[in-house]
């Protein structure tokens, strides 16, 4: 667990920013970041931490902005079996599942 990500989340929340948290909840194969890895995102798309070492962060941030709007958590799947994920670049051959939730 990367605690500096959670500390950043608390700081941003204290600044009244909109904040979402993305967490790797499952991995298969050669996933670049272990289960529990986290990314914190604010309403302007600023982010800190990592869920994939850069491969899918862009897509996760887009979904995170949406999650902040709706207030509903969602699960994202990335992997070689997923054409979209392949396009966003999880080319390492791994698969990951990411839970994106708003901080309230």
């Amino acid at each position: 667990m990367d605690h500096s990500v959670l500390e950043t989340a608390a700081d941003w929340l204290g600044e009244k920013r909109q904040v979402a948290l993305a967490t790797v909840i499952e991995t298969w194969g050669s996933a670049p970041q272990p289960i529990g890895s986290q990314l914190v995102i604010d309403g302007d798309g600023n982010f800190m931490g990592s869920v994939s070492g850069g491969c899918v962060e862009g897509a996760v941030i887009t979904d995170a902005l949406d999650v902040m709007k709706t207030g509903e958590p969602r699960i994202l799947d990335f992997g070689v079996a997923d054409e979209t994920a392949w396009k966003v670049g999880l080319a390492c051959g791994g698969k990951i599942r990411v839970y994106v939730e708003p901080l309230l």
Binding site: E7, L13, I25, I75, L104
Partner: protein
Amino acid sequence: MKAEILNAILNARKNRLSVAVFTELSSGLQHIVARADADEALDKRFRFDQSGIEKSEAGESFVAIHNPPLRLVIIGAVHIAQSIIPMAQAANYDVTVIDPRGAFATGARFPGVTLIEDWPQDVLPKLGLDARTGFVALTHDPKIDDPALDLALRSEVFYIGALGSKKTQASRMERLKASGFDEAALARIHGPIGLKIGAVGAPEIAISIMAEMTQSLRLGG
């Protein structure tokens, strides 16, 4: 995640306590479980730093393990300590070395660690020995090691190791028994220290100690 859950995680970290956060994936509902309240399966997750999915009739939950950083307390700024330190740091331990003897406890011999030139019984209560701390006593000197072992035995440290031959170990156990510890308490002390791998010289003894400490961390006991 609610701010109160986030703050509870950060507070646990500040107080060096292990907690797990359960997230019900269908509803997003979350709750926190302290390590003290963990069942066997969850305790294993704590020991292995293993976050992951748990399936039940209610559906899938994600269990996030939040363990505080590992810490190693070494009593004795001695030769073997110099070999243990880089291995412990590579395994992500924050290392603190305590020795009241100024000639041993010099920054030149121990760069990059917290080095405290003082008696263990004066330092350890302030430092706080907890369940994410490993403890080794390496001086062979009863007047330094014994009070430190006394405090380690009264704490929740996950590993207690004491350097010394079988003979040294036997007389140490007699002294600690005389000061009121029973067999079960004394069984927590690993001594002679380290796994039996035929270690020759300080670096290999350090390997055997790190191996034994890792075994206690991950498998318990």
